[in-house]
């Protein structure tokens, strides 16, 4: 029977199970009292316990330390999957089964393997055990394999007056209020209730909002905010000409319905969902199916799936009803949210791998949906927020009862496909495309043939003889056999054929889990029933179905209209995306350490409205951008700046810098080179094998990203392999939940815009149109280029300056270089796949057996030139590029 722990059960538990527990060696001794301060955390063990412990410490532990630790301990490694420095490690055992079965020496591998007559006697190195030592081990196992007890900190589960106070006082976990709409003095200004909330605060501080933005500014702003792209010149013209009252609403509705809206707002969610197409540190294994989750997100945003449903799908899609196999596949794909985090596949110990992944999931879920840092409570009660360690493990039990199907397993020091576990992928429900039988038969024959050839030459003098490349000749046979086997698998394994996703499913065994003392996976404390946070109450919460993991109930608890955080957090994220700063400026942290809301009543009002509108993101966005507050100009009178320098009260519209994606996408759109959505991701072609920064796989990803002409949301986004064309402008840190992008100013941005081949190529594409057009004047084209890049016409002075520049540049170019296109040269990414080949050929590796000894020296860098065909085009190229590089270009005002 598992010791259980819950405030209401505690007294029972202590009363009835304490004695039993005391006999359960290696498990929990006793638990500190929630309402029983007189109970000791670690009462004196009984006498028998004392003796067997002494026996263990004197006789048994020295054997383990002196003869086994070098290969089987936390400080070294778990050879064969076994560790002997932890009782659970011994009981779970290694690859061959349990090493210790308490009470049963005959069934304990630990004992069998140290017998001198065993074929694979342990220890492998050093002296064998003496008969006395073997007898001691046997006795110890027979007596129940006693191990020192875990000391349970007295604080675990103890009620805290401080927590009660925080629960009662902190604004974020109080129920939503229905605030009264404030009265304002200037009754003519507000267009929406939102505006009344904004204006009331401004009036309180004796501030006035600045004038409204002009239409040119406004359409550029709303087009970027809603789609991440600049408005087309014809859209600007149309908006300017439209003098109807709902002209702006028409623009907004057009944008909301566009696929580009989903691309922009889907990307916002991918930031929060720490989306990445590989495991990241420490061994970077690609997630070849991750793009399906990306597409799921974009599709959900496009269809305006209600936000509560969107969250339920991502956390428990596999447990939700589905009417068709297509819908089932969609829901399974949604759970990629939980699976696509950072994973340390090189983790030696399964239990640590599991608990680290659980922690990663708890962090992703709680920070993205609730704006709470629940992960802080992994090792101890949260220092700031009322989140006890027991709440953390109540949630952890939900995730330990869930199979984490990212397609990887943990292993220390593996290579090749060692980390790939196709059984740990989620197979899609719809029928897999039929296997081309003819191809399979043909391949099977080839595999058989290759195997025969390999068997024949293997180990023979001919096979072992070294070839010209210094390798044994038989190696080529082995490689051929491996390759064909891989090809066959690729055809027959549904996962390898892409008919699978990274996601989750309920585990075979569903159970509550133990508190881990100080967060250490092996140190088991009391078991906590699965459940949710106790910082706030959510009326109507369903109890967890004991037959399931509890993810479904978690999803419902998160998305209950009574959950005080979920709605506030997403409304605040939307506000930040449109105003630059959230009503709460720490969008991922609504806890005690987070920011205070600048307009708490507005936040609650909007959240209530959002829920009432069926959790529709599009309706929320529409309503906010149609408010007058959103449409303010950017003027910044000193008087206002002095009172509220950060513009928290929204007396103007704060300009924002474009994101890395928006900059790249704008270049593609303005140059006319943009291509539609690709079918998948370049990562789809990768096998789940460790990828090195300088390896052929990373090089292929960089090449694909460099060549891509699709929107940036579709670029391959493997962790640590950030596309070069996103790097300069603060791309998202893909390993972390990121609700807020940085906007730094550094010289590498200048260098990127001045010298990168991509920027020059896009500039050249647009320049070629201008230079080759005989029908229109240079003046026409200057205006067109301004319209495309800055969304406005040039002033007369600007137009004249641009034309002057063209003339000057062309003549200087000719004077310097003639018409010969010799000047433009730019760097391209190092073609490391070439250099890798060179290295292998030139220098046989010193230690070929160890795949971790990777050399990366002497990488060859090939320079690529972006060249204009003549002086005139060169002048246009440099003009277009100058506009791309201008400060105005990179800001939305």
């Amino acid at each position: 029977m598992e010791p259980s722990f819950h405030p209401s059960l505690l007294q029972d538990f202590i009363g009835t199970h304490a004695a039993l527990l005391r006999r359960t060696v290696g498990a929990v001794s006793v638990v500190a009292g929630l309402a029983a301060p007189s109970l000791l955390a670690n009462p004196a063990p009984d006498a028998g316990q004392d003796q067997s412990l002494e026996f263990f410490e004197k006789k048994v532990r020295p054997i383990l330390v002196n003869h086994c630790y070098t290969c089987h301990s936390a400080e070294t490694k778990p050879a064969g999957g076994l560790r002997v420095d932890d009782r659970n490690g011994l009981i779970m055992g290694g690859d061959e089964g349990p090493a210790v079965v308490p009470g049963n020496p005959d069934k304990s591998l630990l004992l069998t393997r140290v017998q001198r007559n065993h074929a694979k006697v342990m220890p492998k190195e050093g002296e064998l055990l003496t008969d006395t030592q073997i007898a001691d081990l046997s006795q110890w196992i027979k007596d129940g394999a006693t191990w020192p007890r875990e000391r349970i900190p007295a604080s675990i589960g103890r009620a805290s007056a401080e927590y009660d106070k925080l629960k009662a006082e902190h604004w974020a976990w109080q129920p939503l209020k229905a605030p009264a709409v404030p009265a304002v003095k200037d009754t003519g200004w507000a267009r929406d209730t939102i505006d009344q909330f904004i204006l009331a605060k401004l009036e309180e501080k004796q501030l006035s909002p600045v004038a409204d933005a002009d239409k040119v500014t406004l359409i550029r702003r709303v087009t970027y905010d809603l789609t991440g792209l600049p408005p087309k010149p014809e859209d600007v013209y149309a908006f300017l000409k439209d003098s109807s009252d709902n002209a702006f609403a028409k623009v907004v509705d057009r944008l909301l319905q566009s696929q580009q809206f989903a691309e922009q707002w889907g990307r916002h969610w991918l930031d929060v969902a720490r989306y990445g197409e590989s495991t990241g540190p420490s061994r970077n294994i690609p997630y070849p199916h991750a793009w399906k989750y990306r597409d799921y997100v974009l599709d959900a945003v496009n269809r305006d799936i209600p936000y509560d449903q969107f969250i339920r799908e991502q956390i428990a899609g596999d447990l939700l009803p589905a009417e068709s196999s297509t819908e089932r596949d969609r829901l399974l794909t949604a759970t990629g949210f939980l699976a696509l985090g950072v994973k340390d596949v090189n983790q030696r110990f399964k239990v640590r791998f599991t608990m680290d992944n659980v922690d990663e999931q708890i962090d992703a879920v709680t920070r993205s949906v609730l704006g709470l840092t629940v992960s802080c409570a992994r090792c101890h009660d949260h220092k700031f927020d009322p989140i006890p360690v027991t709440d953390y493990y109540a949630l952890a039990g939900i995730f330990t009862s869930t199979d984490h199907c990212a397609g990887v397993r943990n292993k220390m020091g593996g290579g090749g496909l060692d980390y790939y576990d196709p059984a740990m992928l989620v197979k899609l429900a719809s029928d897999a495309p039929p296997v081309p039988e003819g191809d399979v038969e043909k391949l099977k024959a080839q595999v058989a043939e290759a195997k025969e050839a390999w068997d024949k030459i293997r180990g023979t003098p001919e096979g072992l003889a070294r070839g010209a490349n210094g390798q044994p000749k038989q190696r080529a046979f082995r490689l051929k056999f491996d390759r064909l086997q891989g090809d066959l698998l690729a055809l027959t394994d549904p996962a390898a054929r892409g008919h699978a996703v990274h996601g989750v499913r309920d585990a075979k065994t569903v159970a509550d889990t133990e508190v881990r003392i100080r967060g250490e996976a092996e140190r088991l404390g009391p078991t906590v029933p699965r459940g949710f946070l106790s910082a706030f109450q959510v009326p109507g919460t369903e109890p967890i179905n004991p037959q399931q993991s509890g993810r479904l109930e978690l999803a419902k608890w998160l998305t209950s209209a009574n959950n005080p955080l979920t709605g506030r957090v997403i409304v605040n994220r939307v506000w930040q995306s449109l105003f630059g700063t959230g009503i709460v400026n720490t969008v991922d942290n609504f806890g005690i350490n987070g920011g205070q809301p600048s307009h708490p009543e507005l936040l609650d009002y909007l959240t209530q409205e959002f829920v009432r509108d069926g959790w529709s993101l599009k309706k929320l966005v529409r309503r906010v951008v149609l408010s007058r507050s959103y449409q303010l100009g950017v003027d910044a009178p000193d008087a206002n700046r002095e009172v509220d320098p950060a513009n928290r009260l929204v007396w103007r519209h704060s300009p924002r810098r474009l994101t890395a994606e928006e900059i790249r996408d704008t270049l593609l759109v303005t140059s006319g080179q943009i291509q539609p959505k690709p079918e998948a991701s370049a990562a789809k072609e990768l096998r789940m094998i460790e990828m090195r920064d300088n390896g052929a796989e990373a090089a292929s990803i960089h090449r694909a990203a460099d060549k891509s002409l699709s929107r940036s949301v579709y670029l391959p986004l493997l962790r640590g392999v950030t596309p070069g064309n996103l790097q300069a402008f603060d791309p998202v840190e893909q390993t972390l939940v990121t609700g807020q992008r940085d906007a730094t100013t550094v010289p590498t941005q200048a260098l990127y815009l001045l010298n990168s081949p991509f920027v020059r190529k896009e500039a050249l594409a647009l320049a070629s149109k201008a230079a080759g057009d005989t029908a229109r004047t240079a003046g026409d084209w200057v205006r067109q280029i301004y319209l495309l890049t800055l969304g406005r016409s040039p002033s007369d002075v600007e137009a004249a300056r641009a034309e002057q520049f063209l003339a000057d540049y062309e003549s200087t170019y000719q004077a310097e270089l003639g018409d010969a296109p010799v000047l433009a040269q730019a760097d391209v990414r190092e073609s490391s796949d070439t250099s890798t080949t060179d290295e292998t050929a030139a220098k046989p590796p010193v230690v070929p057996e160890n795949p971790d000894n990777v050399d990366r020296s002497d990488q060859v860098v090939v320079d690529e030139a972006v060249v204009a065909p003549d002086a005139k085009t060169a002048a246009w190229l440099n003009l277009v590029q100058a506009l791309y590089a201008s400060a105005e270009f990179r800001f939305v005002r």
């Binding site: 050093g126 061994r283 840092t373 810098r657 390896g695 200048a750 001045l754």
Partner: protein, 459 residues
């Protein structure tokens, strides 16, 4: 025609700007105290990499980290243990057969420090070195240990900023024309970019990766200087107009400055990384040659040039030390590639007086066992290993800490990776407990919640 109304009014630059710099600025408040903050506020925000005053007495101004990735065997190079020879062939504690080195050791310098015959040149600097011989770390696997050595934590689920980015965050850098944190030829695996990343610190604190050929993306001017200047003048003209508009975004001044800096970097950085201009005798001393074989020598010489130019943190790297097998030949090959250049770097720094303000750190993510693995190998050991420091702020010819007589476990002067980081920060004038950055609701440090400064090694 449609134009945005443009007004010539000059906007006032305010303190709180882009979110990245803004947070850095707020965190800085804790480091500098309010008065210092006021005077440095606009500079810190506009140019976050400007030098900042250290909070403690400064011992070193910059660091060169010579990283021997893969775990160089200390038992065959610089950790002499007579007991290892006496116990050769016997069973070792914890299992395995104690195996003495095949290489001969002898004493060097006035300190009589032992080195094996594999490192005859490095050994000549014995009397400058400050050895840390009681190091230990948490994970005996490269991916986690390499990441922990660089970021303080092996927890993959939460990526932390690297050591160099913490230094830039705390100290800025002396030369604004150069990146403040450079890593040459970093490991392509074992965490890869995490080892020089800035994680949740703003991106301008991350390491700039260059190859051992001195390659940096987008550095080569796209057109001849005269033509590019013409283009840049146009850009800057537009930028100044934009800055003059009412309510123009705050960072525009910074953008204008960044273009001038970027333009200068195009000349200065390649010039700095061009080691062909070094005098013959210097090149010979380092053993400069083309191709893969000369990689580490080139890195050493570039490291000196970068440090000399004021780069705060330079890391160079030689991999291939993971000798589970082929130990004998493997060590001969690897040490041959690093011995002369490392020694030359130390001599060169000394000759230029740079060891007075430059701190050199040499070593691996962990050590290896004195017992044998297979025919000719040694397995990982995290319980006791060595690194050496040389130069600014540390005692010369000094040894701190020791392992047991077989060199398995640190028994004296024990230093965890967190302690090493705390001590390095202290040598650079930073208090590891006060160098914090608020992220996800709490204050993070390079040393997490641990770390003791080992003052015994301070000169």
């Amino acid at each position: 025609m449609f134009r945005s109304p443009q007004s010539p009014q000059l906007s006032r630059r305010t303190v709180l700007r882009s979110s990245g710099a803004g947070f850095g600025y707020l965190a800085l408040a804790g480091l500098l105290g309010q008065d210092a903050l006021k005077s440095q506020a606009s500079a810190a925000v506009e140019q976050p990499l400007l030098p900042k005053a250290p909070v403690l007495p400064t011992k070193a101004k910059r660091i060169i980290f010579i990283f021997m990735e893969g775990a160089m065997s200390q038992h065959d190079t610089f950790d002499y243990k007579p007991e290892l020879i006496r116990s050769n062939g016997k069973s070792g504690p914890g299992g395995g057969t104690v195996t003495a080195s095949k290489f001969r050791f002898k004493q060097y310098g006035e300190t009589g420090t032992y080195f094996s015959e594999l490192l005859p040149n490095i050994a000549k600097h014995a009397d400058k070195m400050c050895w840390l011989r009681g190091l230990h770390t948490d994970t005996p696997a490269h991916p986690q240990a390499v990441v922990q050595l660089h970021t303080g934590s092996a927890n993959a689920a939460l990526t932390r900023p690297s050591m160099g980015s913490w230094l830039l965050y705390g100290l800025g850098t002396d030369n604004q024309d150069l990146p403040g944190y450079v890593t040459i030829n970093p490991p392509p695996n074992f965490g890869g970019a995490v080892n020089y990343g800035s994680a949740f610190l703003p991106a301008h604190y991350q390491g700039t990766r260059i190859t051992d050929q001195g390659y940096l993306p987008n550095l080569k001017a796209a057109s001849a200087a005269k033509l590019q200047r013409k283009q840049l003048d146009l850009i800057q003209g537009m930028n100044r107009d934009f800055a003059r508009q009412a309510g123009s975004p705050d960072p525009v001044d910074g953008i204008i400055a960044s273009y001038e800096l970027g333009f200068r970097m195009q000349d200065k950085v390649p010039e700095l990384l061009d080691i062909s201009k070094e005098p013959e005798h210097i090149r010979d001393a380092y053993g400069i040659k083309d191709g893969a074989a000369g990689s580490f020598a080139r890195q050493c010489l570039m490291a000196r040039r970068l440090s000399e130019a004021g780069v705060r943190f330079v890391e160079i790297c030689q991999g291939g030390w993971d000798h589970h097998n082929n130990l004998h030949k493997g060590l001969l090959d690897r040490t041959a590639s690093i011995d002369q250049p490392t020694a030359a770097l130390l001599s060169d720094l000394e000759a230029r007086g740079m060891l007075n303000d430059t701190l050199v750190l040499f070593g691996s993510e962990f050590g290896r066992l004195p017992t044998a693995q297979g025919q000719d190998g040694r397995d990982h050991n995290i319980t006791g290993y060595s690194m050496f420091l040389a130069g600014a702020g540390v005692k010369k010819g000094f040894t701190y800490g020791a392992t047991d007589e077989l060199g398995i476990k640190a028994v004296d002067g024990r230093m965890h990776t967190n302690d090493l980081h705390a001590t390095l920060l202290a040598l650079m004038g930073l208090d590891h407990e006060r160098l914090t950055y608020r992220y996800a609701g709490r204050d993070f440090r390079l040393t997490d919640v641990a770390g003791e400064v080992v003052k015994d090694i301070f000169a």
